[in-house]
Every structure is written in C-alpha cells, then in structure tokens.
C-alpha cells in the first residue's frame, strides 16, 4: 500500500504500519518515550535525539483552520483537480493537513467541525481525508 495520490519517496516500515492502522480507521501518531513529543503523521525518530518511539491513537475530530481550492494542480495531480487541501486542529491540539471531501466550496467555513476518515484512492493507494461532521 502507498500513501496519497502520488509518491516520490519509497514507503518505509513506518508508513506501512501507519496505513495498516488507517485502513482499520485508526489514526496513529508517534510519541517520543523520552520527551513526550507527539508527531502526527508519525516519524521514526524524535528531534530530541531519542529513537524510542511508541505509537498512540490520535483523535479523529477537529475543526477547520485553513483551506484552499487547488484549481491549477502540479502535473501529476491534474486528474484529481480541483481538490481542497485543508489544515485542521484535532481535539488534542495537533494539526493535520488533508483534503476535505463531501463539501461544496460554498459550505466551507473556517471553524467547521471535521472528522478524519480513511479514503481508498485505488487498489494500492490509501489516504486520510476530512469530512464535515
């Protein structure tokens, strides 16, 4: 399984684990055992120098902070345009970037409540999206 619509990087074990959980509707982040810093999406190492990372399940609810509607996409995304990248603040204060789905531009409102949902793009591609609550 690969993450997102297009890829330039090889998928690592970390991404594979993240996607495996996402498939089962669990949004997993990484937490440093030493300093407690949380990373969502996950990282393999903590910036503090620790490599001791544990998984935690992040909340899937949050509110919209910013959005855009991409009308002029990069070459590799032409078939998906227009799409709506957005940043949401989840209930634990962490922030995530994803496309919003099931919304018309007119209904977009900063502050609106959103839910993170898994979205199967194709047989071998998975991502998460925001869906209005």
């Amino acid at each position: 399984m690969r993450f997102g619509f297009v890829s330039f990087l090889p998928e690592t074990e970390l991404v594979a684990k993240f996607l495996d959980e996402l498939k089962h509707n669990r949004l997993m982040g990484a937490k440093c055992k030493k300093c407690g810093t949380r990373y969502l999406p996950p990282r393999a190492h903590c910036a503090c120098g620790s490599t001791e990372i544990e998984w935690y399940e992040a909340p899937k609810q949050g509110k919209l902070l910013a959005y855009t509607i991409v009308a002029f996409p990069p070459e590799s995304m032409i078939k998906y345009a227009p799409y709506i990248p957005a940043i949401a603040e989840l209930d634990d204060g962490s922030r995530l970037l994803a496309h919003i789905t099931d919304v018309t531009p007119k209904n977009l409102q900063i502050g609106m409540q959103l839910q993170v949902v898994p979205h199967q793009i194709s047989m071998d591609r998975l991502t998460f999206k925001f869906k209005p609550l």
Partner: protein, 389 residues
C-alpha cells in the same frame, strides 16, 4: 555576534540579465549577462576576485546538474575557489550571505556572487511540480500540495483572523506591476488595473493568477569586497551592514501560527539588532512577494505595521514611494519575476541601485538604509539583509 564583526563588507559592482522568458539563452549565457557587467562595474576586477559563490536552486529546470561549474567556467573564473549554495527560493540571498562570510573570515577579499535560474524550458504544470518537490514529500506532497496552495492556506487563515480582503491582495499586485513597468530588467513591464487583477483566473483559492509571481529565467551578480578593496573598486560602494537568518518546521500543519512566518520574525530581529536599528529606520524594503499574501505577511513580520494590519497598509498606499515604507519598488517577485537563484541577488542589486540613487522614476528620495527579505519555500529558509550608503 556584533562585536565579532571586524571587516566592513561592501558591494562594489552589480550586474543583471533581463528577467523573463529567455528562450534565447541557457543558464550559462544568462549568468554571463549578469557577471561580466558586475565585474566591469567594480573596476574591471576579474583578476582581483579570489572566490566565487554561485546560487542555483534546481537542476531539473535547466537540465544541468551542479551548474556552478559550468557557470564559473563560462564567466572566466576557472582556477578560483568556487562553490554553489542552495536554499530553494532564497538561494540568492544564501549566496550573498556566504560571500559576506568568506570576506568576514578573511578567506577572501573580493567575491563574485552569481545567482541564476532558467525555469521556462518546462511547462508551468511541470515547473509547479518541480518546485512542489522542494516541499515536504512524505506526507504533504502525496496530497498534491504546491507552493501556491501553501500560501493560499495562509491567506484563508489571514483573511479569517484579521479581515484581510481579496481586494487588498490585488492591491499588492497593482503596486508591484506599477513599479515593474518602470524597471527595464523586469519580466512584466506593464501596469495592471485593480479590476484586471481581481478578475484573473483562479490558481488556488483565494489566490488568482495576479496574486502569483511568474515562472521566469534570469540571473543577477554582485561583487562583494572588504572595506579596503570595495573603496578601491568603486567610488560609491554600498555596505552590507547587518544580516539575519532563520528556518522553520518543514510541515506547514505543524506550525502554531499560519498567519505569519516565524523565520521572518527571527531573522529580522537578528538583523535589526546587528544594525542597531528598528523597522522605522528602514527607508525602503525588498520583500519576498512570491504571492501577494506573502508581501502582506512580510509587512507585519518585519515590523512595518502591527500584526494583522498588513492589508490596511497597502490599502492606505503606505508601501508606495512617498508612503511610510516603500516596498518592492523594483516590481517585486510579482512583476520583476522570480528566477529562484537570481531573486535574492537581484534584491541586493535593487538595494544598491536605490542607495546609489540611480533608478530614476522609481527612486526613493534620500534612501540611506535599505532592507531585503528573501524566503525559501514557506519560511523553511529566511534571509534578511540591511544595507547602508
């Protein structure tokens, strides 16, 4: 930092190739068009140059890997110590900073700094993609984020938080086109009306075509020298008196504030402290207006107005010549063009021209202190320079 600065560093020569769609050239000829006039402007000092710094952001645009070597050879600098620097859209200012450091460390006394980029050989969609690959490629690029989309996210947040309007964004474009029309080196040398700017085709809501800088070819070069050499090579050297630089988190979603660039604030703080100046002391500024919202955020983050008042500042015309703080009176990235590696060096060139008082109709009267502000990506790189006569 201030107390350790022992060497005064001056800019003794400037040269610029016309920015735009330059299908008549490749990166080597463009660099030549900038470097040779810079050397001539500095008293024909080719033999005095004892280091070369070359700024080119990408290899895939030009179809030339490690382009420092080919540029260095083509401008006649073989045998001199030379390296290339890269800091995305702030590559040019990183090269200037490296030149300053070489002189400060006494590794060199006269440095030729060249910034160049050829970007129009590929389609706009391809160029957008090549630039997007400089963004976060693990979790963001797979979702089709581009630089216009990052700045558009900041724009919707800024509009929501501070009431900044679509019209105010377009006003930045109108101003920069007005001055671009007076700059013979600019990519676009025509004015646009507010109506035209507001009505143009949407790129990433709320940013339309006239909110975005163009994809350009271009090159710019300067000769930097220590005090003794700078005075010898040029009767009116301009001094690079203070520098600041900073960086930021890779993933935009991880940042706590989407309406401001932290790296700008940190870099500006350093530069003001080193110069012992405040924002009020700056007579004119070149800021990184890759998108109109970026210019509005720069007003705020550089301290030219209160946080949130950037839209008001342009609406009141305070960033025009005659206003409180003239900004981007060379056309900015918006009208002058944004050939990544050349941009920062071209900012330095405009600061030098303004402080020498040689730009005619777009001269800021009695300009004595200028500031340049160059961003790489969305603030992952930032360089602020302060210049004086």
């Amino acid at each position: 930092m201030n107390s350790q600065v022992t060497e005064k560093v001056g800019i003794a020569g400037i040269g610029q190739a016309k920015f735009g769609k330059r299908s008549d050239t490749t990166i080597r000829e463009l660099s030549y068009e900038a470097a040779i006039p810079a050397l001539q402007d500095a008293g024909n000092c080719a033999n005095d140059v004892d280091a070369v710094v070359i700024g080119v952001a990408g290899d895939e645009f030009a179809g030339q890997g490690s382009s420092g070597a080919v540029i260095n050879d083509y401008v006649g600098m073989t045998g001199k110590p030379m390296f290339r620097v890269e800091a995305a859209c702030a590559t040019g200012s990183a090269a200037v900073r490296a030149g300053w450091a070489l002189i400060q460390s006494k590794l060199a006394s006269v440095v030729l700094v060249i910034g160049a980029e050829t970007m129009t050989q590929v389609s706009s969609a391809k160029a957008t993609e090549l630039m997007a690959k400089a963004g976060e490629t693990r979790w963001e690029y797979p979702l089709g984020t581009t630089f216009p989309s990052y700045y558009a996210l900041m724009a919707t947040a800024h509009m929501h938080e501070y009431g900044t309007t679509r019209e105010q964004l377009s006003m930045v474009s109108v101003k920069n086109h007005k001055y671009g029309a007076m700059n013979p080196y600019a990519h676009f040398q025509k004015e646009v009306s507010l109506e035209e700017a507001m009505k143009s085709v949407m790129i990433c809501h709320p940013l339309n075509l006239y909110d975005c800088c163009p994809i350009s070819d271009g090159a710019a070069a300067i000769v930097m020298a220590n005090e003794e050499k700078a005075k010898k090579l040029n009767d009116t050297p301009v001094w690079l008196t203070a520098l600041g630089a900073s960086s930021d988190k890779m993933m935009i979603a991880e940042r706590q504030d989407l309406t401001s660039l932290l790296a700008t604030k940190l870099a500006a703080e350093q530069a003001y402290r080193m110069a012992n100046l405040t924002p009020k002391d700056i007579d004119m500024a070149l800021v990184h207006d890759c998108f109109t919202i970026a210019e509005i955020m720069a007003y705020e983050d550089l301290g030219f107005c209160k946080k949130g008042d950037g839209g008001k500042l342009i609406q009141e015309g305070q960033t025009y010549i005659g206003g409180k703080i003239p900004v981007n009176v060379d056309g900015g990235l918006k009208a002058k063009g944004h050939p990544l590696g050349a941009t920062g060096v071209a900012m330095t060139i405009e600061a030098v021209r303004q402080l020498r008082g040689e730009v005619g109709p777009r001269q800021v009267n009695d300009a004595e202190i200028a500031l340049s502000h160059n961003i790489g990506e969305t603030g992952q790189y930032c360089f602020v320079h302060i210049y004086s006569r």
